[in-house]
Amino acid sequence: MSQKIVDRPVNINLFKIRLPMSALISITHRLSGIYVFFITLPLSIILFQKALTESSYDSISLLIQTSSFFSTFVYFSFLIFLYHILTGFRHLLMDIHIGENLKASNMSAIFVISFWLVVSIFILFGIQI
């Protein structure tokens, strides 16, 4: 089998394949999961550790307030986490056969992304306040 693959080319150029909404949601769900495990999770553990004593809590709060890089990084990491949760929830609904036809799945895909964008902007302004 693998001999055949080595001898013959394969059309696997992803840039040349049209991916509908559901497929894009699926791959971004996977990418967000990877990001959450390798970045958001350790970040959360670090923040938890910093929040154990008053002095470290104050210094990390100061960092968030003063460093736009760090605060953006934290905000972004939790946004990606939210994305994984929302697309994961859509996945769970499809597991119990809700939204299994093509039209419904494309609509739920658009809905989840829009909802995520709206909540992200909402949180951004909420933090400013």
């Binding site: 089998m1 693959i5 013959r8 394969v10 040349k16 497929a23 036809n101």
Partner: protein
Amino acid sequence: MIEVNIYRYNPETDKFPYMQKFNFEMPDRDIMVLELLNTLKESDPTISYRRSCREGVCGSDGMSINGKNGLACITPVSEVAKGNKLELRPLPGLPVVRDLVVDMTEFYAQYEKIKPFLQNDTPPPNQERLQSPSDRDKLDGLYECILCACCSTSCPSFWWNPDKFVGPAALLQAYRFIADTRDTRTEERLESLSDPFSVYRCHGIMNCVSVCPKGLNPNKAIGEIKSMLLTNKRHEAEIIASDGGGSS
């Protein structure tokens, strides 16, 4: 004038595949992509592709048309060549034999694996095994598959594991036999699909549903198989079939 870009590869002369441009003058009526290919082949006889029935029932001419899998013989050029550009590539993920012809061996292997034939151990009746109209209805949306491979070759899970993940086409057929009230080996069929790869690599990407030229829904069939694997609920069909009859 349509600019047609075709994937070319001749194993005897080419080290790598390449894209070849053709300029195609559209006739005064709309035509199917297959007719466009046939006309181009008149001037360049080396262009290779499979085709047979030219009416969307044999499944030979599945290919990637402007990035989406479909049957060339029932895809009107006007529908796909928006902006007067048409790009034809072989079905994704399968080894290319030549130009638009792919090696379907792995696809057929998965089809064979799910035992696409009726299995009934009860003694055969004098004439045929009876099936009520309502039981026959259960096969609608399943029996019509022409094994064109558009769905499986549009599925990323199938691209990465064509030997382990059975794929939408073969899973649809697996369910076709599970749902058939005349088949008695439902438990065996389900057991052979119970490993982590055969069915469970389906993540609901839904490319299969969006490309099927017969309008079938493999994702739904896979959902039914999953339900049966995950719970002990079996359809009435199976309980009735094991009583030796086919009527409900």
